[in-house]
Amino acid sequence: MRLLALAIGAAGLLLWPWAAPRYFVFLASLIVVNAIVAIGLNLLSGYTNQLSFGHAGFLAVGAYTAAIVATRSPGVPVVVVLLAAALVTAAVGLLLGVPCLRLEGLYLAMATLAFGFVVVEAILNLDGLTRGNDGLRVPAARLGPWALATDTARYYLVLVVGAVMMWAAGNLARTRTGRALLALRESEVAAQASGIHVARYKTLAFAISALYTGVAGGLFAFVVGFLSPDAFDVFLSVDFVAMIILGGLGSVPGSVAGAAVLTVLNDSLAGFQNYRPLIFGAILIASMLFMPGGIASAVRRLRTRWAGHPPMAPDSRRGLE
């Protein structure tokens, strides 16, 4: 049953470029990119309870790294470019993660917010590398002899990378590291008492989260083809937070669902820019008041109801207060 659903879903995703108009292929790529960011953010916020308002900053670091590497050394395979974006962003995440160890809750949220602003200012000021406000054109991604120059080719690139990242995140929860992170979410003190090195794992969570966002940034650069600093403002970070809140904290499929819903919504509201924040804000408030746990936990509840089980106890979704 589960396998069948997976197979149908995979076939649908693979055949999508032949069924959908070109623009929707582009949109699907964007959904996958945002989903990777949402998964990365969820590894930090959902797993270790550290809220970040700076992920647009990580996305920018990844995107600019990829664009600069691809421009300076043409012909480098896209895998190498994405690896460079991932490593640079993870290093930045590590650098930010170490001082952020001392912070929690509001302070952490504000420090990451500040990080996002500083990244945009840095892009503006390093105009030798980033061309500042003029923006940076990104060459086509190269895979050996091929240039991935069409929307369809880029879609498959994004899809493959996205699938790998999703699979890795899904399995992370079953590794020693993943269990340590989940333990941290429930109670730092209890985790520490069980021999989990709190500082090490919290920093690691920051680095992994940044790594995911860096890869997404690299893909974003190729999908969009043009980078300018105003694309990475704080409101983008808020959008990412909205994705994981709507999708469900701590859930990988939830992150993907939240990213898909909000990316499509964002796109359909393109003609109504004035209403966009209104609707996003209302979604944030409504999911917190009426659907805590997001889409993921709503689906879980529906499934148990259909299966004829008595309703579950209110799910423990996050750390105890």
Partner: protein, 292 residues
């Protein structure tokens, strides 16, 4: 740089700082009562100021009346938000309420844009434009006015918190909610009072700063600097909020004189990151020890 010019820069820094201090105070008032950060504080300030401005645009009332209207609108807004949204999340975690106020800030900013457009409007000022000359020193009257009005308001708040029953109840709730309830304080009423009071303080800050920065839907962003001011002083401490606000205002005004101008916009954030690294509890704050 002459010392007279330096005085001018410091005074205008203190004026900006007073506004930061007021915003920081309103954040701290809500935080002390409910232990949550109100992300929508800046937007509430902006909406209240717009309410006063709308009346002024139709009927040219004296400015004091305009300010009173803004204050009334702020009180109503604070009360409605607390009763309709925040009260329902009373059992939720701080994280959840933070997200709710974040959503609220998006909604309010967007709604203000729809109601009043995203343009900038000139706002009438209480104070003249002719500089006050004291020997070699020239100071803008608006700076002195903002500083004076803010100090008066802070004195009023101090009197409220030390001298009145409500103020003592609010301090009791800030210290220990359960104990406050045990001695007969209605915690719910203190929540509502805190939201209203914070909203009112914000509205006054909004009316004071609007003539300087223009009135627009983006005005709420001042709350970010207000937050940094509160952290600088030690989040949760009211004297800390005042000192932090003044200090941030002066630093922000002095920094461009000594540092490359390109990092001007980053100054408050660099201050924030620095203070969080060196002394996360702020200048006058204590780092709370969390119990298991």
């Amino acid at each position: 740089m002459t010392s007279a010019a330096l005085v001018h820069v410091v005074v205008s820094g203190l004026a900006t700082g007073s506004i930061y201090a007021l915003v920081a105070l309103s954040l701290v008032i809500v935080y002390n009562a409910t232990r949550t950060l109100n992300f929508a504080q800046g937007e509430m300030l902006m909406v209240s100021t717009f309410a006063g401005f709308t009346v002024y645009a139709h009927v040219k009332l004296p400015l004091v009346v305009v300010m009173l209207i803004a204050v009334a609108a702020a009180a109503l807004l604070g009360w409605v938000i607390e009763r309709v949204i925040i009260r329902h999340a009373i059992a939720a975690t701080h994280f959840d309420v933070l997200i709710i106020t974040l959503g609220l800030s998006l909604v309010l900013r967007s709604a203000a844009g729809l109601a009043w457009t995203h343009d900038e409007f000139p706002f009438p000022s209480f104070f003249g434009t002719r500089p006050i000359v004291l020997g070699p020193v020239r100071v803008a009257p608006v700076s002195l006015g903002i500083i004076g009005a803010s100090l008066a308001l802070m004195l009023g708040l101090w009197a409220l918190f030390t001298g009145t029953r409500l103020g003592r109840a609010m301090r009791a709730v800030a210290q220990n909610q359960r104990a406050a309830r045990l001695v007969g304080i209605s915690v719910e009423r203190v929540y509502a009072a805190s939201w209203i009071l914070a909203s009112v303080v914000g509205a006054i800050a909004g009316v004071l700063i609007a003539p300087v920065v223009f009135l627009s839907s983006q005005m709420g962003l001042v709350a970010i600097n207000g937050f940094i001011a509160a952290v600088l002083g030690g989040f949760g401490s009211m004297p800390g909020a005042v000192v932090g606000g003044m200090l941030l205002g002066v630093i922000e005004n002095l920094a461009p004189l000594y540092l490359p101008s390109s990092i001007k916009h980053s100054v408050p954030f660099l201050v924030l990151i620095a203070i969080l690294l060196v002394r996360p509890g702020g200048m006058l704050g204590r780092v709370a020890r969390r119990k298991v």
